[in-house]
Symmetry: C2
Subunit: 349 residues, 2 copies
């Protein structure tokens, strides 16, 4: 067990570690209104595709509990509206939509049962999804850790640890499993501007795991690669298309191109809930554009002239041909991805 959790369900409340305040303060929000869950997702109090999925399910459960009706049909209709509202929180991570579809399906098949039973089911389902997410992360980590060797200097971008998931982590989970298997290596942590998830969160988690790391500005990764000081890059994902194109935190594509140029393997770790089998390629992934102030203001302090125009694309898309392999809970998909991803999907069914 971790000494912290990104999110959990506690006596009809959602407890959620406020990641905006890390690493300075470790404060848990206690939420009873689903609209506050939406706000928490939107403002990145909770972030990371798998964690967003769990938060959406728990938010939906909170919304369901608050519905005052004994009519199952009315309940389902109003619950659907709540799910639609939660779906608006952020556009890119597909886990959000995946989770909402799952909880809606869970009650849709319970036709005729009383509202109380539907509510109970939603509360249970959300907790099951949290637990499952951790189990899936551990499986993924076990599958991926064979890629990490003693002495490796691993580059990672953004945060993909327990904080980004229901527990254990995706890309950082792979490193954790390798560490727990006795391998000794070190990590270059991209600080990951603008919101510094690397500097604030990945360092914090690696520190707790005792894995040695060094923080770097995002622009320094290329120089380290040229100096032969990076052996492997590994990142998470927010959405993966059927052909293996990967949307992930802005700057990921940069790492992928640089890794290719320097002949360094570039891996993605993500659960199957992050795959969007319905879109043929990355051009169909909606990329969230966030407020320019996240670039011009760092933790409340202006770092650019007042009103300086800034572009803040939250994600970029890495084409599949730059990716050495995609680590999932069902094994590692290798190129050609169209067929290997299909095979993973079949294995999951």
């Amino acid at each position: 067990m971790d000494p912290y959790c990104s999110i959990c369900w506690d006596a009809d409340k959602v407890k959620l570690l406020d990641q905006r305040r890390l690493p300075g303060e470790e404060i848990y929000l206690e939420i009873t209104d689903y609209r506050e869950v939406i706000e928490a997702i939107r403002t990145l109090a909770i972030r990371g595709a798998p964690a967003i999925g769990v938060a959406a399910a728990m938010g939906a459960a909170l919304g369901a509990l608050a519905l005052e009706t004994d009519n199952p049909e009315e309940f389902l209709s109003r619950f659907h509206d709540i799910c639609q509202e939660i779906a608006q929180a952020r556009p890119t991570a597909v886990n959000l939509f995946w989770a909402l579809e799952r909880v809606e399906n869970a009650v849709r098949v319970m036709a005729g049962q009383p509202v109380k039973a539907l509510k109970d089911r939603l509360v249970t389902e959300a907790q099951v999804m949290l637990k499952e997410d951790e189990t899936i992360c551990r499986r993924m980590a076990r599958a991926g850790q064979i890629l990490i060797h003693d002495g490796h200097r691993v580059l990672t971008h953004c945060n993909t640890g327990a904080l980004a998931t229901g527990g254990y982590g995706t890309a950082l989970g792979v490193l954790r499993a390798a560490w727990e298997a006795g391998k000794r290596f070190s990590v270059w942590v991209d600080e990951t501007r603008p919101l510094l998830q690397g500097a604030r969160l990945t360092t914090w988690e690696l520190g707790k795991m005792g894995i040695p790391y060094t923080l770097i500005p995002d622009g320094a990764a290329a120089a380290l690669m040229a100096q032969g000081r990076v052996d492997l890059a590994i990142v998470g994902a927010d959405r993966i298309a059927a052909n293996g194109d990967v949307a992930n935190k802005i700057g990921t594509y940069s790492v992928a191109v640089l890794a290719r140029y320097h002949g360094i393997p570039f891996y993605v770790a993500a659960p199957l809930s992050t795959f969007d089998f319905n879109i043929p390629d990355g051009s169909h992934i909606p990329v969230e554009e966030r407020a320019g102030e996240e670039v011009t203001v760092i933790r409340g302090m202006e770092v650019a002239p007042p009103g300086a125009p800034a572009l803040n694309l939250a994600f970029d898309v890495t084409p599949h041909d730059l990716i050495s392999g995609i680590i999932t809970e069902k094994g590692i998909a290798l190129p050609p991805y169209t067929s290997s991803i299909k095979a993973l999907r079949r294995a999951a069914e």
Copy 2:
């Protein structure tokens, strides 16, 4: 004339715009002790290779004025020690050493003249070098502006404007000359972590020139290139080897690799004082490593866990084969650089 200047000489004082406080505050330091000039260079109150050269010359002049001796030999010996001390301020920008060599030569050839004459000469020489630097920048800008076309979306990294020079700027000077020639284009400004020279200084200067720009995190440049939204990249330099390898602000090499990958021209603008003709290639350029706190603490605020290890390479080296051309006051050097740089050097003699 600019409404501001990076540095000037005013009645036996050095006046220097404190760039650490920009864009929030526009404050000029008035310095009479050469050791404060060293401190200003070291702490980046003044930065940019050409500006550092001028600051070194003015610092040397301040040091000379304070020497209390009428013996020319003793004066020259103690002046040499002062220059040696100033030379320790920062290791990478060769303009620092170039400037100190120049002022030492200026008085070394005045054998037999009284100390007063030597001091006068040093004060004059420093002011001549400031004026020359601006003239050189304007020539460089005129030579380079032909590369900029209407509608261009130009990416730049770090700060290369009047602030980084004796006036007008290097890479930003090229853009300024193009703008003054009536061309209309826009600029993507890399924020340039860790010290945010792009966010703080380049935005400030482009704003004053009225050139439209958009600030981006360094990691976003690749995605914009992939989207076809970057037509040309242009940067400055801190030292250029005889074969055209270029040391510049950390992150520059990243831009160069990404530009090559996306088929985008990548130009460097630098005066001949930034060339180190004595070293055959970039592997001989000493790259300054600065305190990790510049990465973990942003403008006084901690953004990583206390004590988080960080690597802060101030510069990286871009191999000449990634560079489309090097813009100088004597014209644009094109590959193969070994011969084109030799030709420029001859033209300058």
